[in-house]
């Protein structure tokens, strides 16, 4: 006991220090260690979860990108095909219309030619008729005689035929 006294160990002080430390430990446990450790654990879990999620999203994105590229190339191919087809079609149509026009033009030319020849014939006929009359008149005048009309006509006709 004397030794303890010399070292300054006092039972009440020792007890007070023990209680002090226990209170400190309890308060820190209740208000610091537990909440902070729980928070840190929660955060750790959350970070892990978000990292996993990010990885998943990355994978999905990659997949989508590949898919997109595939579809894009396919669409391009299809578009080219359609374009080609359209070109061919247009070419064909153009050809067809050209042919048609040519035909039409030929027909019109033909019709015009026919018309012209018809007109010409008519003109010739008319000219013949006129010529007939003129010739008759001329002949009458030249002969200056009045023949029987019938005979007259007959002779003229014969003459014309001869002509």
């Amino acid at each position: 006991m004397d030794l303890l006294n010399k070292l300054g160990i006092h039972p009440t002080l020792l007890l007070a220090q023990i209680i002090n430390f226990l209170i400190l430990m309890f308060v820190l446990y209740k208000f610091v260690y537990n909440p902070v450790l729980n928070l840190m654990e929660k955060r750790e879990k959350k970070i892990k979860k978000s990292l996993d999620k990010a990885k998943e999203i990355d994978e999905k994105l990659e997949k989508i990108k590949i898919d997109y590229d595939k579809k894009m190339t396919q669409a391009k191919k299809e578009a080219l095909k359609i374009l080609e087809e359209a070109k061919n079609q247009a070419e064909k149509e153009r050809e067809a219309s050209l042919q048609k026009t040519k035909k039409e033009v030929a027909e019109i030319i033909k019709k015009a030619k026919e018309q012209i020849s018809l007109e010409k014939e008519k003109l010739v006929e008319e000219a013949k008729d006129d010529l007939d009359k003129i010739v008759i008149l001329a002949v009458e005048k030249i002969l200056d005689q009045r023949l029987d009309k019938e005979i007259n006509n007959k002779t003229v006709q014969e003459i014309i035929k001869q002509v």
């Binding site: 010399k6 006092h10 220090q17 610091v32 902070v36 840190m40 959350k46």
Partner: protein
Amino acid sequence: MIKKRKKKIKYFYMGIKDLVISISPEPIFHIGSFPITNTTIVTLIVSLLIMIVSVLITKNLKMKPKGAQNVLEYIIEALLSMIDGVTKNREQSRKFFPLVATIFIFVILINWIEIVPGLGTVGIKEMHHGREVVVPFIRSSAADLNVTLAIALISVFSVQFVGISVLGARKYLSKFFISPFKKPYFIGTFVGLLELISEFSKIISFSFRLFGNIFAGEALLMVALFLLPYIFNILPLPFLFLELFVGFIQALVFSMLTLVFLKAATIEHEDH
């Protein structure tokens, strides 16, 4: 009038001959028969400071830490990873954490009190063996055997408690009481007995290691201060750094040893 007053004031210069280093903490005043020593006051102030600061920081914890919460989390994370390194088991670490962390934080702060300015010099005058000496207000709590013994007792009792609750009373006690009729015969019994004694000696080694280091540090600082006080004021500086280092190491040793003993108590004794 003025002359009279001047005479009344007693100037008290401290010199090396006034330096008193006592092993026991000095009581400042008494409440009944209960002595309030300077270390009691320092311990109370430190404990209250720890509690108030930490509760203020943790009052609104946020998922996205900011400012002081970062510092606190850094300290706690460092302690936790240190404990994890010994236990290799997160669940067990969480169980040991309160004791080990509190010991570390409390001990490091009461150690560092010794480098606070005014240590050993600011205090009340008292007659001591016919000499006028200063009883300082600030004395590192770890330089009081009551404090170190208190922590050592808590540490060692916790070790026993953890051992019994994890292994069960029979298995735990079989570490110390080994039948002399088993394989290593009397050697085993003797080793068990030594183990038992070492459990008690842990209390003494814990308390005196910390007390000795910090008490010596305090005495060293005071002597360094008194040796060449005015011109070579720079002299105590390296000692202050040394004491910072010693305070940290002692806190680490105390908490690590507690941790190792806790872990050892949970491990079953191997049958030979």
